[in-house]
Symmetry: C2
Subunit: 708 residues, 2 copies
């Protein structure tokens, strides 16, 4: 499936196909069973328990009756054509059922059956893919738990049966994660709009569901759990559109693989795929969680919190402890607890609520009943003291759900609730507020996480919607490489040829094939100079003694030339030597790394980090997917911890950040237009008060593809 | 209260006093009320609901009957002398009740009443403190929710009434946090041994309870929530003893104050108090949580997990997703998921459990019933494949509680359970396992956190118990300073006098009062030299132009001398100049910072970090409380991210880490023996392959205390 396929007409057709599946008004369930332990029984039971009010046609060659319904012997014997067929037969029978369904004009299927690619039967999987392509029938699965679309009360999922309808759509690779997120949302009264797990994604895939739910009027936010990504570029394309419409929280498993995926080049060793994914999330507005709990916290905040105007939070509590815990977490989520306006403090004081009230943010009201919160919230809102008001409950608060619901309707600020330490009142009160569209969390820190997610998602949406040049992920056909494709390092003069084409500044230089030629070149570039070996057989120039810096005179250059050759040949006996690069030595400046790599999932990605050993030690790097937009380049520099160094702290000279942004954009163009590049390391890049210079370029290319 | 007071006989008396309170066999409740909304009613009701089987004497001047009990008009009218008096009368009446109780020989009190120091009545608080000192009656509170000691079924706490007994003792500054942790533990079936909140800690304080619960046979682990710490040194002393007996998890609020507490010196600006606290936790084995949820996860793991032999975890799941999430979190908690022994894989394969099983760690068994786990766990244990086996459930698992309990009794490895995505079976199954002493978590990551805590606590205990020189916090009387105490910077030559006494290496140097004298000194130290201004009026030498480096000749020294004076006088007009320090310039080396500061809570603390602007940008510093033991010095160096730089990565020369450890120990002795020191910054310290040199020393001392 090529990257461009997701656009235009085809995209619309896919969204409509999913819509027909979720909103089917009649369903055939093929492969029902009378054994309650079998999925063929459980799934039919789920549909009934879910309250589906369309027609249900169980199908099994044996016929008979099941759960009060007539069982049909085959699809052809149904009294009417169903909108959807849910398939539970063994894998080898699935192609037949699918063909029969397509032949009857049934537009969609949900295939729960396992036993395809994951069980060594890629042939069966290709067969059902071909049926979809040929007939136009679209399907979810195979190898899934099923689908649950609550606005249609259609729970065609063997487990769990969730009927608490709410704003959250759950899309997860794993059935267990689908179940856990759905159960949590239902148990707390938040509810879900839909749940689906991804399985083999033979036809419909994560990008399609993301596209669908971002346009679904019954969904307020999407929680996404991913393990692999089927088509990285299409996924990003869908994400870029989706996050401008609806907030999306995502958790991607595989953080811990980073180490194992250490590639040969320096950039690669830092990157791993997860850092590329994290960069992509920032770039396309996906709210990236680090654990299942945080994914749920983010999802709760995104699904239920009213769009916050900004990032200012006011915590109001009867517990000093709960307030402090909220304040402690705020910074990590990019939130602030602003001081209270004097007028507000005076007005609250005049209410005489409690002699022990502590009237700073976080506000501790002392021990007051629920009613005591109301005037404080209304006053705070009148003063626009915050963008989000957190009712940070730490005691049993009878009557609070009603008050919270009333307040949510009356105030301009967004309203969130943390309820902990409230015993039976807590258990009773939380679902009621959640059901009323107020996100309720089980602890102050979790509340802050949910609020933080909503603030970030809203900010992203507003900034991107307001941006002059909207984001354009110009996705021409970019076949991602086989990760096993062979590659080789090219020499630095070859790499410099690429840089030149993109006006990437590299020191004055020349390639010498004798000591005298080196002296001549140095005379042209000016002293001091650096000498570097040029050999396709020397991967690590410095380690092999192939670099000598600080040469000030012709005699030093002559001596260094001979020394380099001797050292390199001692280190790499028989190395083919193409010559010695003579470069004008650059002035002092801050060193950074700029890199690019071909990510297995997303294709070309760009890296930025502070240079030298510090990059390795502090892992302070940022990634974005190419092509970069100017704001991507700006953001990826600013999000590193090292950014203050570039701006110039403690009397350091500020660096030319604009030049660095231009370099990142140039590297992005370079790798987008030269698909033979597998990896590129500009390390170090020395940045000056004005301008910069790439001091070393290391490039790996795929074998068999033409160079510049 | 002085730091030494906690030791010996007095310590034993305190533990016995708390024991008498918790294990009281008869309780007078003074200030009962017939209004169910009043604490005087709620507390009496809690005692009855809690199932207390000792005698209960409600006291109220009005007499009568309440909740089926006779109400006595005063303490003096009770038919017998109670072991404990619980006090709920208004603050102004508390001293009277306390005196009456002491007069009758009642040994302990729990004072719930508020209205003391926190309400501006420090006098009342001093009065009750004096009564305790004079009479020997010990008390908890005032201004608390109460105490709950389940082995005695004594819930003298107005809220909540927790009756699910288990291994966890909850000690929290905040009543809401006490309630939240207790409710969570009870709701999940873990249960608690005791709950107490700290309030004003006028008599008994956090250190006392920590001491008590670490020796309480009914408590397996302690969860501690702190806001301030009443007496830092006593707390550490108690913690040092407690963590060798029982695991202790702690959450300290106030992380976010770090920034606000930025002190004037560079070290201070990085330190904040929370980093000092975190260092103290590592030093004394407290398992330090960053949020309320994590505190609970840690507490669950510490309270219920069998002592793990090591840090190797095997995850066994029916869900690939849940297994991956556990693996992802393991690294952050210091855990590893080792590969499976070949023999084990073969034996599991021969069981023929599921064709879709993925037999690597994390193991995904495919969809198997609970019974399918049993042989796999037993085989894994036979092969000693892991120190902890995590049953990582992601599906409904009927029968699992029974199997888990059986397995826990049969295997050598510790057993933990994560149960998520299991619907009704999950809700039903979790408490049963928890009650059986198997920690159950709601997600894989939370399970890994709890396991990580248990592994760290066990490792700490074993290492310290096995250590040759046991930890000795030689706590002589060290009155902590008034944080407002005035201090001043001393000049570098004065600071160097301190360094000399402790053989801390500083470059050869001399103080010049003329350019010629500077040249003479330079001839003695040898070139190149550095010149530095010496003036009590110049706080930031470099900023004022008061430092010139790299001087190679007498004429350069002469010129530099005059230039320094001119620049400093231009920058700080009228500055009193004591001269110019001439120092032999040190060779190249890695720069680090070593510092000390007088922490408000813990007194002298030592800091270590990578030097220069990187310390500030990456906040990569470590703290310990003085006096340091040799292993503290070693650990605080090794726990920084920069440690690989010191060891020498990427062809860098390794640094003399032993010399650095010696420096840290010397600085520790210096500040312990010179209590006039408020802050000390050795920045930079240049570390060589052999040895090191302090290149700059900055010291602040408290005004009015004698110098060396």
């Amino acid at each position: 499936m090529s990257a461009g396929e997701g656009s235009g007409k085809q995209l619309l057709q896919t969204v409509q196909a999913i819509d027909r599946i979720f909103k089917a008004r009649s369903v055939a369930v093929v492969g029902v069973s009378s054994d309650p332990a079998k999925l063929g029984y459980m799934t039919l039971e789920s549909i009934l328990k879910g309250g589906y009010d369309g027609r249900v046609y169980p199908v099994n060659p044996r016929g008979g009756e099941l759960l009060g319904l007539k069982v049909y012997k085959s699809l052809s014997q149904l009294p009417g054509r169903p909108d959807l067929v849910v398939i539970l037969v063994p894998a080898r029978f699935v192609p037949g059922v699918l063909r029969e369904a397509a032949g009857q004009g049934i537009p969609g299927a949900v295939i729960l059956s396992a036993g395809f690619r994951e069980a060594g039967r890629a042939d069966l999987e290709e067969e059902i893919a071909a049926i979809a392509r040929e007939t136009g029938l679209r399907f979810a699965g195979p190898n899934i738990q099923g689908i649950n679309y609550l606005p249609n009360k259609l729970c065609a999922m063997f487990f769990p049966v969730i009927t608490t309808r709410g704003p959250l759509a759950v899309v997860a690779q794993s059935g267990s994660v689908t179940a856990a997120l759905s159960e949590w949302a239902a148990g707390e009264g938040l509810g879900i709009s839909a749940a689906i797990n991804l399985g083999n994604q033979t036809d419909l895939c994560e990008a399609d569901y993301l596209e669908y739910f971002s346009t679904d009027e019954n969904t307020g936010a999407v929680a996404l759990y991913l393990e692999g990504i089927k088509n990285g570029r299409r996924f990003l394309e869908a994400a870029a559109r989706a996050t401008l419409r609806k907030p999306v929280a995502v958790l991607k498993a595989g953080r811990s693989e980073t180490g194992r995926l250490a590639a040969s080049s320096h950039t690669g060793s830092l990157a791993g795929r997860h850092e590329v994914f994290s960069g992509a999330c920032r770039q396309f507005g996906l709210i990236n969680a680090g654990s299942l709990d945080t994914l749920y916290d983010y999802a709760r905040g995104l699904a239920a919190l009213k769009e916050p105007r900004g990032n200012r939070v006011l915590s109001i509590s009867t517990s000093g402890g709960m307030g402090t815990l909220a304040a402690d977490e705020a910074g990590a989520e990019g939130l602030v607890l602003p001081p209270l306006p004097d007028g507000l403090v005076r007005e609250i004081q005049s209410l005489g609520i409690s002699p022990l009230a502590h009237l700073a943010n976080p506000i501790d009201l002392g021990y007051v009943p629920s009613e005591g919160f109301k005037p404080v919230v209304l006053l705070a809102d009148k003063y626009e003291a915050a963008d989000i008001i957190l009712l940070n409950l730490g005691d049993p608060m009878p009557g609070m759900p009603e008050i919270a619901v009333e307040l949510a309707g009356r105030i301009k600020a967004a309203l969130a609730v943390s309820y902990a330490g409230g015993g039976e009142e807590e258990k009773k009160g939380r679902p009621a507020m959640m059901a009323a569209g107020i996100p309720v969390f089980s602890s102050p820190e979790r509340a802050i996480r949910g609020i933080g997610a909503a603030v970030r998602a809203t900010r992203f949406r507003r900034e991107r919607q307001a941006g002059e040049g909207a984001y354009s992920l110009s996705l021409t056909d970019l076949p991602l490489r086989d990760k096993a494709a062979e590659s080789r390092l090219i020499t630095e003069p070859e790499a410099v040829q690429y840089l030149k084409r993109y006006n990437i500044p590299y020191p004055e230089h020349g390639l010498a094939r004798s000591a005298e030629e080196a002296v001549k070149i140095a005379a042209g570039t000016g002293y001091p100079v650096v000498l570097k070996i040029v050999s396709p057989d020397v991967a690590h120039k410095s380690d092999a003694g192939g670099v000598i810096t600080g040469l000030e005179t012709p005699s030093q250059v002559r001596e260094a030339y001979d020394r380099i050759l001797a050292r390199v040949l001692a280190a790499v006996p028989g190395a083919s030597i193409e010559g010695v690069l003579v470069c004008r030595q650059a002035p002092q400046g801050l060193e950074v790394i700029v890199g690019a790599l071909e990510d297995e999932v997303f294709g070309p990605a760009i890296m930025f980090g502070l240079g030298g050993i510090f990059t390795e030690v502090f892992q302070d790097v940022s990634f974005r997917i190419a092509p970069l937009m100017p704001f991507d380049a700006a953001e990826m520099i600013r999000e590193t911890k090292a950014y203050p160094l570039l701006r110039g702290i403690r009397g350091q000279t500020p660096c030319d950040i604009q030049a660095l942004e231009q370099l990142l954009l140039a590297v992005s163009r370079l790798v987008m237009e030269h698909r033979e590049i597998k990896e590129l390391d500009l390390n170090p890049v020395r940045v000056f008060k004005e301008g910069l210079l790439v001091l070393d370029a290391r490039m790996g290319v795929f074998v068999g593809m033409g160079l510049v």
